[in-house]
């Protein structure tokens, strides 16, 4: 069997020629007054022609084409056999019945039809995979056969439903209902198969998909490809629903016409149809909404997940490159903007289809009226649409002023302490009122424009409908259209606004999503800066070349400096975040970051605390259950944080807010320290770990920490005498160099050192002559 060149193109061609063109030619011919007969024959002719061409050019009978030929000849033959238009309507039943039978019969062959047909639409490489799977996997073969059974039965059931429909529904409703049934059935069959295939491929190749980051379009395409089944279903449902919106006016017009004819017996029938159509539309509407909500959600949350994962990969690179704002913006709104844009895939397709269907319906009533409506509505939309866009422009100064008012009130809340203690409330109250009044005037201006735009946006279409009604009324009184059709025309004009508006809205959504997706792809394209790959050798001196600092294994060292930033830079180098330091002779920045940080732990003074239970926060990368409560409490004890456990309602199980917001500054610092000690690294580098603590607590912590770290290497930076006196060796850093080293007591002889560690002595006021000494 020859495989077609590319799957998707063939598939689209198949749908277009075998489904879309035959159906639309049927409607157009009917609208122009041709008989049901001619319409059906012409509709069937195209697929036959296509098959003929394919036979001649390719000199082969591809499975798919043979299958189509079978469908069409069987259907046409049945159509030719009888003149009953009801039977002709039921034609497709025989077709789907034929398909069902064909599929079930294929089970007798070596490979069932679901397999051969799907492979036929696949790119060659993927098809290879399938053939291999068929030969090697029993699960694969069983599933293929099971699905073939399922599809065959589905087609047979469809056939049965269609026969019932053809003989029970009003004649004019049958083609539309039948088309909808076929579309939904095909979509379900094809997508179920694709989804199943994908799941199987994932299992067999197990390669997770990375997002396409070539550009915003490719990123959106990737998001669609992650859930193509759902997106397709959404598009089908969205189209069906929008096309369905044209049904009520149609049914109402037909019902009114039969009323006008005085047919008592059909009143109840039309009532039932009205109710049925209303019910089906309500169902379609919510099904569409549910599908699209899931589409949006999947896209938005998948984006968040990818960005989070990439942020984790980037690590310190993110902090260094100041990408935090970008990521916050993505989480704050961009992800949802992107999600919303995928909704456009439904209404976008649906809008075009709905427009076409309404066009056909209008053409059947009156060609001049149809021309007026079909041309008028898009023109209106183009007039009103940009006006809506103008709302955004007009709103800009308003939103800016809104931002100022909000900023002002946040400023006041934050400064209430100052205002309470020192005064100035009246001034700030006046200032706020002035800003508020400015916002009010901007608001009036926006209101003026908005009210015009909204009045025009709603009013122009109404005015247009009124003109259409007037025209239709003249046609009705002349007798060229019926009373029911008069009512229908007004209804169509109103309904047509929905697809046109949603098309414009979809375009707007998409343009915003492209901006948001650009931000996402730009972020995902950032590569980590730390590229080290060497494996750390382990034991050896930790040496910083810039300052000349050397730390021997197993010692508890301290660095004292007046410049906090020098201490931070030093630890950055030692911890491998920046070049300039070596460990056992290897430059730390060239070591594999993950392996390095497992052994050399940098405990920043302002390290992030993530939300979770206290136990999880302290455990860090370790597993809470593996550690056990005793180890956790022990680490908290080392950090003199026993009171934190006691002070929280559920002890270790209590929740800690993101950033440790529900802890005091001192508690946060001790929890950070506990987290660093429990990791038990070979080397611990802690920046000012006691800066927010009182003297007694500092003394306790240093006492416990030196005991806990005995035998391993520790470096703390501090200017507190209590901390420094606990260290084996203290290094004084001045102007970026180690200028003195030794024990705390020995260094106190150094005036610079003494001045540094004994700062904060009594305020100078105490020495004031007026105050008794």
């Amino acid at each position: 069997m020859k495989t077609p060149r590319s799957g998707p193109a063939t598939f689209t061609g198949f749908l277009l020629i075998d489904l879309v063109i035959p159906l639309s030619s049927y409607y157009v011919l009917r609208a122009l007054g041709a008989s049901v007969w001619t319409a059906l024959l012409v509709g069937a002719a195209l697929p036959v022609l296509r098959l003929g061409v394919s036979l001649v050019l390719r000199r082969s009978v591809p499975g798919a084409s043979l299958f189509t030929l079978g469908l069409i000849t069987a259907g046409t033959a049945i159509g030719l056999m009888t003149a009953d238009s009801r039977l002709l309507m039921a034609r497709e039943s025989y077709l789907t019945g034929f398909v069902g039978g064909w599929i079930l019969l294929s089970l007798l062959r070596a490979r069932p039809l679901v397999f051969t047909a799907t492979v036929g639409f696949m790119p060659p490489a993927a098809a290879e995979d399938w053939h291999r799977s068929w030969e090697t996997s029993e699960t694969f073969r069983r599933a293929m056969r099971g699905m073939t059974w399922g599809f065959g039965l589905a087609f047979l059931i469809d056939a049965a439903a269609r026969v019932v429909m053809s003989y029970t529904l009003p004649l004019d409703l049958v083609p539309a209902a039948s088309a909808a049934l076929l579309a939904v059935m095909l979509a379900v069959v094809v997508q179920t198969g694709k989804a199943w295939g994908r799941r199987h491929m994932r299992q067999s190749t197990a390669s997770p998909s990375r997002p396409y980051t070539r550009g915003p379009w490719s990123y959106l395409a990737w998001l669609v490809s992650r859930q193509s089944g759902r997106v397709t279903l959404g598009a089908v449902l969205g189209s069906a629903w929008m096309v369905g919106l044209a049904l009520p006016p149609y049914v109402i017009s037909r019902a009114i016409d039969s009323l006008a004819d005085g047919q008592r017996n059909v009143v109840l029938g039309w009532t039932a149809v009205l109710l049925l159509v209303g019910g089906v539309l309500a169902g379609l509407s919510i099904w569409r909404h549910r599908t699209m909500t899931r589409v949006r959600m999947d896209a938005a949350l998948r984006t968040v997940s990818e960005v989070n994962a990439h942020g984790i990969r980037l690590g310190d690179t993110m902090t260094r490159r100041s990408l935090t704002g970008e990521v916050v913006a993505i989480g704050g709104g961009d992800a949802w903007t992107i999600g919303r844009s995928l909704t456009a895939t439904g209404p976008g397709v649906g809008a075009v289809l709905a427009y076409a269907v309404i066009a056909v319906l209008l053409l059947r009533i009156s060609v001049p009226l149809a021309v007026v409506v079909l041309a008028g509505v898009p023109v209106l939309a183009l007039v009103v649409g940009p006006a809506t866009g103008r709302l955004r422009t007009v709103g800009t100064p308003y939103r800016e002023q809104q931002g100022r008012v909000t900023g002002r009130i946040v400023d006041i809340v934050a400064g209430l302490g100052v205002l309470n203690g020192l005064g100035g409330k009246a001034v700030y109250a006046d200032r706020f009122r002035a800003e508020s009044q400015r916002l009010l005037h901007h608001g009036y201006r926006v209101g003026r424009v908005t009210s015009v735009i909204q009045a025009v946006g709603l009013g122009l279409p109404t005015l247009f409908s009124a003109v259409v009604v007037w025209l239709a009324a003249r046609l009705a009184v002349e007798g060229s259209i019926t009373v029911g059709e008069l009512v229908a025309v007004a209804g169509y004009a109103a309904v047509l606004a929905v697809p046109v508006a949603s098309f414009i809205e979809g375009a707007l959504d998409l343009s915003q999503a492209l901006v948001a997706a650009r931000r996402v792809t730009d972020f995902l394209a950032v590569r980590p800066e730390s590229t080290g790959t060497s494996v750390p050798r382990g034991r050896g001196d930790l040496v910083d070349e810039t300052t000349g600092l050397r730390i021997t294994p197993g010692s508890f060292a301290a660095v004292a400096t007046a410049q906090h930033s020098d201490a931070v830079a030093l630890v950055d180098r030692l911890g491998g975040f920046r070049p300039g330091a070596t460990w056992a002779g290897q430059p730390t920045s060239e070591l594999d970051p993950a392996q390095l940080h497992e052994q050399v732990l940098v405990a920043d003074n302002d390290a992030a605390l993530f939300a979770g239970s206290l136990a999880q926060v302290v455990a860090g990368r370790l597993d809470v259950d593996d550690l056990g409560a005793a180890a956790l409490l022990d680490a908290l004890h080392t950090a003199a944080a026993d009171d934190v456990v006691r002070g929280l309602p559920d002890g270790l199980g209590s929740g800690i807010d993101s950033g440790g917001r529900n802890l005091s500054g001192g508690q946060r610092q001790r929890v950070r320290l506990a987290r660093a000690t429990i990791a038990d690294p070979t080397i611990l580098l802690a920046v000012d770990p006691t800066s927010a603590l009182d003297a007694a607590t500092e003394a306790t912590i240093i006492d416990r920490l030196t005991r806990h770290r005995r035998g391993r290497t520790t470096l703390v930076t501090s200017t507190s005498a209590l901390v420094l006196q606990g260290a084996d060796e203290v290094h004084l850093l001045a102007d970026g160099r180690v200028v003195a080293s030794g024990s705390h007591t020995a260094l106190l002889a150094n005036p610079a050192y003494a001045a540094l560690v004994h700062r904060g002595a009594p305020p100078a006021g105490a020495h004031d002559p007026e105050v008794p000494a």
Partner: protein, 590 residues
């Protein structure tokens, strides 16, 4: 120390407050209602006219007659456009005005909320009420309320029109729609919590992402990659669940609404059709009723779109109104104050104070003489900071008195208070305003020279680098921590109080900045009474007297040497500290 949660207004109070807002702009409100009804009414003439046209066509009317009706249809549409514009414009104006009144009232209340309610947990709550809640209510007033009024007027007039055209069909239609209020009640009762949960879950997702972004370095340093990924997955799963829950609500709500309106149309057609065939109704009436009922979906959809917003904005409104009960009555202005301090002595008499229930101060007595330097020491939680705040008049004691020169400090308005006692802490807010405005808060009539002198005394050399001097906008030109501290201290100098309460103004600064700030502080405290809350003992050593606090009481009071000489808890604290600094002290004395 956690502040009590701020209250939320009861529903009765919310109704009264809403009514007050409407009443203060009563005439405008009525006009808005009337124009909206008129606009809705104009929009509903068309179906009736179409019904008339159907009747005329059936009666075989002339084209001229039809033209008259057709012209009327067009005129009605034009009228709808014009009146609709006015209705909306007036609605927006009313909404904007009311929103402005609401936020100005909110700002007034913020100024009158006692200091302790603002601090701790209260500050975030207060900010979110002043911003998020206020924005939501403004949005509701500006956008939701006008749309809602228009839609309600439309729905009401449609129902009235149907009933007038044919009471029987009207009744049929209304019965068919009976499911709507039922399902609406069902939905609203669940929607609020479900949507709040959804918003919270989405905020959590954003929070996790922001956490990863801000803490990326920590993630790398501590190897938290897996935990972070797991946290993200958990947040996403929670967000998915929360969204699916609201989706389930909508899955009941929307189809019921859609089906109900379809039922109304179908039933009206059925009954109307039979009545027409029995010659009890004209075909035109049936057509008009069916078209009206179909048109009813427009206002119903609008109402449904906004009802959720209105519901949640009502909750926000309740939170804003809740501040009314927190706000103290307006403090007396300087002129009204009857008690005027007669000297500079601070007297604390049997003071008790509680944050949440239990007292943290248990009957504190203290006299501070003018010009004295008093240090307050003790372990965390002993009540040092609380005592400092009471002396500075920030909080009011639960019982007992804190007086300056015989007047209760808590009764003094800021303008009075700042001439006597000012609290200096490490928190120093700089307003997003020009530097001059930031300084004149404390001294409205100070000249530029006085302002510059205050900065100069503090050694604020950075002033030279400001682009516009005193006019530099500190909202765009952000000051660093030490500079902000200078601004705060300059305010103190300008206020020129005789007593300063210092609560660790420099504890969290790095050494070099701290030293500079301490020098600046030294300039501000010359010749004043000093009450210094000390976390580090160095601060206490040279004070005239030291007050040692333990569990809300002053347990020891005296000079450093006296306290060290006796077996006090201060002596043992001092011993721990001096063990490693004794050498340094000898150096000092040499």
């Amino acid at each position: 120390m956690s502040a009590q949660a701020l209250p939320v207004a009861e529903s009765g109070e919310v109704r009264r407050a809403a009514w007050r807002l409407i009443r203060s702009d009563y005439a405008a409100f009525i006009v808005v209602l009337l124009t909206n009804c008129a606009a809705a009414g104009a929009g509903l003439v068309a179906p009736w006219l179409i019904g008339q046209i159907v009747n005329e066509v059936q009666a075989g009317a002339e084209v001229a007659t039809i033209d008259r009706w057709g012209l009327l249809v067009v005129l009605a549409a034009a009228a709808q456009l014009l009146i609709g514009h006015q209705a909306r414009r007036l609605g927006y104006r009313f909404g904007e005005r009311t929103a402005a009144r609401l936020r100005e009232q909110l700002a007034d209340r913020l100024m009158r909320i006692p200091a302790r309610a603002v601090e701790g947990a209260g500050a975030g709550d207060l900010t979110s009420r002043a911003t998020t809640d206020a924005a939501l209510v403004s949005f509701a007033l500006r956008d939701a309320a006008p749309e809602m009024v228009f839609a309600l007027a439309q729905a009401l007039i449609i129902i009235v029109a149907v009933v007038l055209l044919s009471p029987v069909l009207g009744l049929v239609g209304l019965v068919a729609l009976v499911a709507i209020p039922v399902v609406l009640r069902w939905y609203l009762r669940r929607a609020r919590s479900a949507y709040l949960a959804q918003a919270a879950a989405q905020a959590e997702v954003a929070d996790v992402l922001a956490g990863t972004a801000a803490g990326a370095r920590t993630v790398e340093a501590l190897g938290l990659q897996e935990r972070r990924a797991a946290d993200c997955s958990a947040a996403i799963a929670a967000a998915t669940a929360a969204q699916l829950r609201t989706l389930r609500l909508r899955s009941v709500f929307f189809p019921t609404i859609d089906a109900s309106t379809a039922l109304a149309v179908g039933a009206a057609f059925g009954v109307g059709g039979l009545l027409y065939l029995d010659h009890q109704l004209s075909l035109g009436t049936v057509v008009a009723v069916v078209l009206y009922l179909r048109q009813l979906t427009t206002p119903i959809d609008t109402i449904l779109v906004w009802v959720e917003t209105l519901q949640s904005s009502a909750a926000s409104f309740a939170r804003i109104e809740g501040l009314a009960s927190s706000a103290e009555p307006a403090r007396r202005s300087a002129e009204d104050v009857t008690v005027v301090p007669t000297n500079q002595d601070i007297v604390v008499t049997d003071v008790r104070y509680a944050y949440d229930g239990a007292d943290v101060l248990h009957g504190v007595d203290l006299d501070v003489r003018a010009g004295e330097h008093l240090a307050v020491v003790g372990t965390s939680g002993a009540g040092k900071t609380t005592l400092g705040r009471l002396i500075a008049g920030i909080d009011r004691p639960r019982s007992g008195r804190v007086t300056v020169g015989g007047a209760d400090v808590a009764d003094l308005g800021p303008e009075q208070l700042r001439q006597h006692v000012v609290l200096v802490t490490q928190e120093h807010h700089v307003f997003a305003d020009p530097l001059r405005d930031n300084l004149t808060i404390a001294a409205p009539h100070a000249t530029d020279d006085e302002l510059l002198e205050a900065l100069d005394v503090l050694g604020a050399d950075w002033f030279e680098d400001l682009p516009d001097g005193l006019d530099t906008d500190l909202g765009t030109h952000r000051l660093g921590g030490a500079q902000a501290q200078h601004v705060a201290l300059a305010r103190v100098l300008l206020a020129n109080p005789h007593t300063l309460v210092l609560d660790e103004a420099t504890a969290l600064l790095d050494p070099r900045t701290a030293r500079r700030t301490e020098e600046a502080l030294a300039a501000t405290i010359q010749g004043r009474t000093i009450i210094a809350v000390a976390h580090r003992l160095q601060t206490a050593r040279d004070a005239d007297r030291i007050a040692v606090m333990e569990e809300g009481c002053i347990t020891e009071l005296g000079h450093h040497d006296d306290l060290v000489a006796t077996a006090t808890s201060y002596a043992s604290l001092w011993a721990a500290w001096s063990a490693d600094t004794s050498q340094n002290r000898t150096d000092d004395h040499e």
